[in-house]
């Protein structure tokens, strides 16, 4: 019985470790044609969001609540930020504020909006 409990504990630790690894994934948001794509992502706490500017005009990422603001991103430049959460982060391009995006941080950790790009880059 004791060995069973011990094995269960090890399994739990392993599970948590694996879950932790999964939560520490990276999600890429491409800025293309003056659009954040995907415009809305659903991620787990601890996820690193990487914005990549694919336009030949600079953009910048700024939170609506002013909690963060990237430097200006020229073509192919990146900005990354790890989100804690849970919660919703609304952001926009500080050069072109009609460009908006949303990050929803919850335990689910799955991307939303149905147009998610590949994660883990």
């Amino acid at each position: 019985m004791r060995s069973f409990i011990h094995a269960a504990r090890i399994a739990a630790v392993l599970f948590c470790a694996l879950t932790g690894l999964a939560q520490a994934e990276t999600v890429e948001i491409r800025i293309d044609n003056f659009t954040f794509s995907p415009a809305e992502v659903h991620v787990a706490p601890g996820t690193t969001i990487v914005w990549v500017n694919a336009d030949d005009i600079p953009h910048a990422v700024a939170a609506n609540d002013k909690s963060f603001r990237s430097k200006v991103l020229d073509t192919e430049e990146k900005y990354s930020r790890t989100v804690a959460g849970p919660g919703t982060i609304d952001y926009f391009c500080s050069l072109h504020p009609h460009m908006t995006g949303r990050i929803i941080v919850d335990a689910g950790g799955s991307q939303g909006s149905g147009t998610s790009g590949p994660a883990g880059h």
Binding site: N33, A62, N64, P97, H98
Partner: protein, 329 residues
């Protein structure tokens, strides 16, 4: 360099007592003439060139009056395929203004002087603009406030304005030749999902600035992003622009000069004439005609035709307003 257009490409008549004409050549710029308190002839079209005027009083029926030029969106530092050398085309625009038959009293630059707000880009732009040989009055574009200080670099360089009285993010006014000029800043403190922004402080200042002027004073307002809503889907407008325009509604002659959209668009609404200038760096698509407002890449031999200089002539007359645009391309 300065090339004369062969034929007008477009002509619009509207009911207004001033004549306004535009034409284009490589580079960019608007040349305005104002005399006797009413926009008058610049003599830039049809061979009526006049000497560089001195400032005239509002009541003086003096001809020539005031001529000035507008340069916009030079984006010095831009090196993408749409124009690998934006500094070179700015220099061409400067040469075009220098070649005008009427030497402008000054030049206004309606923003996006630099591409990324870097010192070396501002330096290069300043060096090129110095060749104009006349004062240059600036407003910032959103590309000029990208430094860590969010506009501190622009303010350090241009923030005093022409008379040391610039306020806030760099707005100011001045009088020249009987015309009241107002330089507005609508590229700072932008809100997510919004358009250009003037803000309460600037609007309060504008109301105060205009208060003492008689309604017959010609007013020229310039800012980077169009003050009128051109195409909100691409952010081409100013959220509180209508409030500024309402403060200008009592004036008999208001001219609003903007940049940002890298193409000529114009309209006349009541006594207000709106005009956006071409860029010296690269063209952008007409509203809604492309997936995004990003730079348009044209064949190399077409680029300068899309940049184009616009000259504008006001003529005092009883007839309708004539607006003529032409490119070389």
């Amino acid at each position: 360099m300065a090339h004369q257009p062969s034929l007008p490409a477009d002509e619009i008549d509207t009911g207004r007592r001033h004549a306004l004409k535009c034409m284009a050549w490589a580079g960019t710029g608007l040349v305005w003439s104002v005399a006797g308190g009413v926009p008058l002839t610049a003599g830039l079209i049809g061979g009526g060139a006049q000497a560089a005027p001195a400032a005239t009083k509002t009541t003086a029926p003096v001809n020539p009056g005031l001529t000035f030029a507008q340069i916009s969106d030079s984006h010095v530092g831009f090196d993408k395929p749409a124009n690998p050398d934006a500094l070179a085309t700015l220099r061409e625009a400067v040469a075009g203004v220098r070649g005008l038959p009427t030497r402008p009293a000054f030049v206004i630059h309606t923003g996006d002087i630099s591409h990324l707000s870097r010192d070396e880009q501002f330096d290069a732009a300043d060096q090129a603009l110095k060749d104009l040989g006349v004062p240059v009055f600036f407003v910032p574009g959103e590309h000029d406030v990208l430094d860590d200080g969010m506009g501190a670099a622009y303010l350090a360089r241009y923030g005093k304005g022409p008379n040391g009285k610039a306020l806030g993010a760099g707005w100011y006014s001045f009088d020249h030749g009987g015309v009241h000029f107002v330089a507005l800043v609508n590229v700072v403190n932008l809100k997510g999902g919004g358009l250009g922004n003037l803000g309460e402080d600037q609007l309060a200042w504008l109301a105060d600035d205009l208060r003492a002027l008689s309604a017959s004073t010609p007013v020229v307002v310039f800012a980077h992003i169009p003050l009128w809503t051109v195409y909100p889907e691409w952010g081409w407008g100013t959220d509180d622009g209508a409030r500024a325009l309402s403060l200008l509604a009592r004036f008999g002659s208001v001219t609003v000069l903007n940049g940002h959209i890298h193409q000529i668009l114009q309209k006349v609404e009541g006594n207000v004439a709106f005009h956006t200038a071409r860029s010296t760096a690269f063209p952008q698509p007409s509203p809604g005609s492309a997936p995004s407002p990003g730079p348009m890449k044209l064949p190399a031999d077409k680029l300068r035709g899309a940049l184009g200089v616009t000259t504008v002539t006001y003529r005092q007359k009883a007839g309708p307003l004539a607006v003529v645009d032409a490119t070389l391309g």
